[in-house]
Each structure stands twice: as structure tokens, then as C-alpha cells.
Symmetry: C2
Subunit: 195 residues, 2 copies
DNA sequence: TTTTATTTGTAACGGTCACTAAAGAATCCT
DNA sequence: AGGATTCTTTAGTGACCGTTACAAATAAAA
């Protein structure tokens, strides 16, 4: 029994995944609201109706771009989440954040933590907020596994620090200086016998 | 010799300082770009030309509002900057930040650290950036006075942490949880013999 | 070949953006 | 009173926002 994958109408004139990648780059660099439809259509090289036919709305395109972002981020944080003790986890987590937030040829900072800051579209705000909440749960789980005394509070500490690193990256702090900050904070935290 | 303070033409129909206060509230709550002229004129109760006659432009009104913000913030951080030892300074600094970033009847987070995030107006960006640079120098001075071993790096650590706290406030983290985060971070840092 | 389905380009929608030209209104100075 | 100065109101600027109606174009299915 053969299956034909060919669709009926006129074929799409652009690559959907590649469009998401371009959108990701723009959203990452300038944030959700500052990235207008005209920027997107110009960069992707396609008319607005084509974008809307493919993705539905600006917010839905943002959601796809964010999914791609998460996929690209995973390898950065894989080492951290396979750490077998608390000090290593904290240190690798912050180090990974710095590396991820200061890459060349991409936006600075974190799209999830800063991409919708000061945005007013509730749809876009919800997308990043849910991912932050999900990441919070992942942090609590991992910290619990590693025997942290107050995993909930430590997760807040980690997320707040990452938010600070993302903001610092957006403010232009160099990768080297951010690395120092991450190291000092990580060593401080896991050197403290209270954690 | 008498001096007349009265101006010549038609008197202004609104209070300029009060207008700055209203603008501060709006910019603080929604950020620079999301705060449109229509919001401002409606809230202040004045026509757009009156605002432009009084302040020149949206960016210049923002600058005035930011000045007011700094004046309002100073008392929050006064205790910290009169601390006489490093642990007290760090602890009071982070505590003051949390209190300032989670006030009722005002925006959450810090106007300087987050008010122009993802904004594209270079004039507005420069205003907050210069204040951040100035604050960095203040931090370095104070940390040097208190005998910090690496005052430059510690200033980056402090500023990054405050940026994280501001972002966390904007993300909706409660004052209590933020207080815990600030306490853990402060105690971690000044409990570390490396600092 | 005709029908059906999908994407395309053109052109526009109503709305908001920051900003301002022009004229009337309110005050002081002469 | 008359002129000078400053502010307010009305109304509008062009540019951009996200989004879409419409019809031509392109493909597979009938």
C-alpha cells in the first residue's frame, strides 16, 4: 500500500524550518515586540500572507521560534543536568548560561528570560512564562536528586542568577567578565555550608 | 532691587513635577516603548503639544522620570551605602533591591535595569546605560573602601544579581521568595573566603 | 480538461506610533 | 489698550503596526 505525501495545491515557495530559524534570530536579537512583521518578511524573503498561511500569527511564529531555541539550547545545558553532585551542577549551569548568552552570530542573553520583557501581547508573554515555570520544575527535580536542602529556594536562586546573567549580557557585559561573575556566584553558593 | 518670578505668557495648565511622577509610574510599569504618548497624555490629562512644549520629546520626558526615579530610590539604598563592612553592604544592598523592586503602587523591578529592555530608541537606551555605568563606579568605590579583594568583579556580581532580582520581580516572583533569594545569595557571597 | 486545494503577490484594512502646524486663549510688559 | 510671549486645543502629519481580502498562479485529483 503506497502513500503519497504530495499535497494538492500550489507548493510553498520557502522553507518553513529555515523561516523559523530566521525568525528566531530576529526575535532573539531585538525581542518580541521590537521585531515587526516587516522585519520578518524582509529577512525571510516572503510576503506577509505567506507567513500567516504558514504560521497563523506573529505570536504563533514566535512560539515556533522559541521551540527551535529550546532545541538549540538543550546541548548547552546537557552537561549541567547530567552532573552528579550539587557543586558541579551549579557551576556547570551558570557556565552554560554564560556560553549560551554570549554566542557570536546570535542574540545576546536568553530569549525565554528576556525576549518578552516589556512586551504587552499576552499570548507571547504566556509562551515564555510557561517555559520558565517548566524549567523551574526541572531545576527543583534535579536539585532534589542532588540532595539540596531547600530545592525550591535554590531553584529560585538559580533562575534569578540566570536572569541576571541574561540581563548582563544584554547590557553588554563581556563574556569574560560574565564568566568571572558566574564562577564567583557558583563557588559562593556551593561553598556555603547552608546550601 | 526686586525680582519678579512671573513668566510672561499664558501659564501652564498642569503641574510639571506631577506630570513627571505620572510618567514615571507608567514607564516603570510598562517599560519605555510600551508606554505610548496616548497613555501618557491621557494619564496626565493634557494634550500632546503641551507635553512637547514642556519636555521636548518622549525620550526627554523619560529622562526626567528617570531622574525622579533615582531620587525616590536613593533612600532605599542609603542604609546599604553607609554600611561599614562588606557582609553588611552586600546584604543590605540585595535587601534594599528586593524592597525597592516589589513595592505596592508602583512598577515591579528596576526602571534603570529593565525599563528599556528590548527598546530600540537609542536615546532612551543611553539614558539608562549611563546610569548603570555610574552605579557601577559607585559600587566599585564602596567595595574598595570596604576592602573587597576584587572590587571590579564584585561590582559586576552585585549588578548582575540586582539585574536578576529585577527580572525575577517582573516575572512575578513574590517579595517573600525574592527576599529568600537575596538572603541566600548575600550570605553565600560574603561567607566565601575568596571575596 | 475540469475541478479542487493551496500558496502566491498586490494592495489594502483600521489602528497606533511619535510628533507638529496653526490658531485661539491667557498672562505680563509697555 | 496694544503688543509680546507662552501655553492649549484642534486637527492632522507620514510611518509603521499586525492582519487580511482578493485574485492570479501552481499543483494534484477527478
Amino acid at each position: 500500500m503506497t502513500v503519497t505525501n504530495k499535497k494538492r495545491g500550489r507548493p510553498r515557495g520557502f522553507d518553513k524550518t529555515q523561516a523559523q530559524e530566521i525568525a528566531l534570530k530576529l526575535f532573539w536579537e531585538d525581542g518580541y515586540e521590537a521585531t515587526g512583521l516587516s522585519k520578518l518578511t524582509k529577512a525571510i524573503g516572503v510576503g506577509a500572507p505567506s507567513l500567516y498561511a504558514a504560521f497563523g500569527s506573529k505570536a504563533q511564529l514566535f512560539e515556533k521560534a522559541v521551540n527551535l531555541y529550546q532545541a538549540q539550547c538543550t546541548p548547552f545545558f546537557q552537561d549541567a543536568f547530567s552532573a552528579s553532585n550539587l557543586p558541579d551542577f551549579i557551576c556547570l549551569l551558570f557556565d552554560s548560561a554564560v556560553k549560551s548568552y554570549t554566542q557570536k552570530n546570535s542574540g545576546r542573553g536568553c530569549l525565554i528570560l528576556d525576549g518578552t520583557r516589556n512586551a504587552s501581547d499576552p499570548e507571547a508573554l504566556e509562551i515564555t512564562q510557561k517555559i520558565r515555570e517548566n524549567f523551574h520544575r526541572q531545576l527543583v527535580d534535579k536539585l532534589t536528586q542532588l540532595g539540596a536542602k531547600e530545592p525550591e529556594k535554590m531553584a529560585d536562586v538559580c533562575q534569578t542568577t540566570m536572569t541576571g546573567l541574561s540581563g548582563a549580557a544584554r547590557h553588554g557585559l563581556s563574556r569574560d567578565k560574565m564568566h568571572d561573575v558566574a564562577q564567583i556566584l557558583a563557588h559562593s553558593i556551593h561553598g556555603n555550608p547552608n546550601q
